[in-house]
Symmetry: C2
Subunit: 124 residues, 2 copies
DNA sequence: GCATGAACATCGTGTTCATTT
DNA sequence: AAATGAACACGATGTTCATGC
């Protein structure tokens, strides 16, 4: 009976996946990147804050940005710098959708900051 | 062979459980509360920010604060206001541990705020 | 119905394995 | 080894069920 079993979110904090997608879009807006290069960059950025994402999560984010959000397209490119002959690079396919997605995430980030700051105010 | 299979955390954002424990401790410091009453209070507080915790999560937090953190003790109390004859109320058992736990959570909340604000700065 | 608790189900994501270069 | 991807496994938490007032 088309039982659309969608599990409800209680709306706590933003998911890592969305957080990474945001960074990935911004990074790709500024140039060509491929999976592991993005991961390196992200790890370097977040390590001082105790967050170290995994490679699989970056790949999942990339795949979804391509197949579900339809924001990115991929292509293979021969890269001299990389050890591998071919590398999967992404570029923005739909700038409108990219901006729309980023806007959504921004709204949620703002909400999350409020939630955390409220906790700091209420308990300390 | 005592294979301590601890799954690594990548250190993204704070877990709902810890977030709720913090609020529960503070609420109990300020008076007597029982599970569903706490839930009501928390839901009311967070609903404007789109977060609505579930009853089971509050109970799990209470149980862990009693059995694992050993911060709370429980007792049953007959309450006139409630429909039920007896209700499970908690009070602080170890104020030292309570403060220590809150301090830990505060550190993590501060870190999380930084992570989110960094994302806002880096992507917008 | 209110209150508590546990059992069950599932999403998000960490870990491991496979494949290619 | 670097890179990509998928399979597998498990923790966190949402949902449902059981029990007693």
């Amino acid at each position: 009976m088309m039982d659309t079993n969608k599990r409800e979110s209680t709306g706590f904090l933003i998911k890592q996946r969305a957080f990474l997608k945001l960074y990935i879009i911004t990074n790709i807006e500024n140039g060509r990147w491929y999976g592991l290069k993005l991961l390196d960059e992200l790890k370097k950025e977040f390590k001082p804050l105790g967050f170290e994402p995994q490679h699989s999560e970056v790949y999942r984010a990339l795949h979804e940005l391509e197949d579900e959000e339809e924001i990115l397209t991929k292509g293979k490119v021969k890269v001299a710098g990389a050890k591998r002959k071919e590398v999967v690079v992404y570029k923005i396919k739909d700038h409108e959708k990219a901006q729309a997605y980023k806007k959504l995430v921004k709204t949620d980030l703002d909400r999350c900051v409020k939630l955390l700051q409220k906790a700091l105010k209420d308990n300390f």
